[in-house]
Point group: none
Chain length 133, copies 4
DNA sequence: GTGGTCTAGACCACA
DNA sequence: GTGGTCTAGACCACC
């Protein structure tokens, strides 16, 4: 799991960690059952505080992406195709999609180009098994 | 320009204003050249602080969406089709798109459904001229 | 909001706070729209750390019980009767109910007595408007 | 005694064991006088540490649910109808019931539905003799 | 004023 | 070894 965080970013560190792990799960680089680094290991790797990593894992746990137990640490709990998305998730996701797409449209990106880029991103996420050794 | 802000939302009010205006521009309800309400008028309309509205306009100005001058106030500067999006915009927009799509994929939304929803949102933005009075 | 925490309890302080607020909401002592103490105010009142209170509020926010914004702090967002309970909530609630009831049965509390006590507790929660000034 | 533990659960394994045994006692699948598996046997069956099972038995012993002696191992000491519940038990049980019910009420579960679900659970526990081979 | 984030370091529970 | 909790105190964003 080679992820990077930018301590100077306006995005909180704990959320950067959360985002990178979500992306790894979506792309299949992390598959259900895979072990995550321990909070302490990640903290020293990034030179940040344990509590910050713990907060990131906390968020992932509440989203149902990972499961944690005290003995074995955290493992990935869901991935592409492991059950349908909940209505509650979609309800909070759609407005964010709308705003993000509006930004691109307002900046002059043609709808066709937006769709094309969306497809490109999704293609990186597809076929999770193929990207694993 | 009938926009709404939710004072109870976790999203900062200034950003809600920014988002709603961007969406209005994307959908064509606001077109390049259109006049925006004055900072003062908006603040009164929403019962919020003038500085909050000013901060929203500031953000829009930095993004190149509006242009302000002392005499005539703020006008919309960009819109769908008003020149190509800048590379700088795309550079900071793509990672955000990636993260947002990754969330949906990780939660089990199939790529086909994501594309479909993207199209639906973009369709609301299309035909800007038709949606104008 | 007169609540107490026991720093010596095995129950984490942040969860005690969460529990007491949930109980206040269920009983109607806190109704939707009511303002909660600020995290700092609660922290000094209890002689505990701000982060601990913040964690309690965080949990309540994720459960949809409160809403927080930066200007006005936290307010109660739901209460008895404000929308049906989600299936996800019930799924994680039922096993906890089963275990708790099993304890009582195993200790010799007759089912009739358990039902009676359940009713008594629920009666304290009913008629939220009546218990308000 | 066919009980299951989920090593990935956030609930500590020793407590899962304790909970399942309590539920077995409440439902009559284990009756006063019944012999429990030895600590060693259970540990092997679950592939877990002996100390973990011992901790579960410890908890049950402190609650008065089982009794252990050197020669004959552990036997069930209490069950439905085996004498009245102690006041001490009720004192620590009621607040937990209150919190659990408050959660459901605050989430919008109507009192009637809560009572109904409580009855359903208790019915599974009733008629202990009938459920024995 | 409000909440959010982060650090450094401590102690405890689980297995 | 793992994660969870908590403290004391700092800085930042919002309004």
């Amino acid at each position: 799991m080679q992820i990077e965080v930018d301590p100077l970013s306006a995005v909180p560190i704990y959320q950067q960690i959360r985002d990178r792990i979500i992306e790894a799960v979506a792309s299949g680089r992390l598959a259900p059952g895979d072990q995550l680094s321990s909070v302490r290991a990640l903290a020293v790797a990034f030179g940040i505080n344990v509590a910050t990593v713990a907060k990131a894992y906390d968020a992932l746990r509440q989203e149902g992406v990972i499961r944690t137990n005290q003995k074995s640490g955290s493992v990935v709990a869901r991935g592409p195709g492991s059950g349908p998305a909940s209505a509650a998730f979609i309800d909070q996701w759609m407005p964010r999609l709308t705003t993000l797409l509006a930004e691109a449209v307002a900046q002059g990106l043609p709808p066709g180009a937006i769709i094309a880029r969306t497809r490109t991103v999704l293609d990186q996420f597809a076929d999770p098994k193929d990207s694993r050794p």
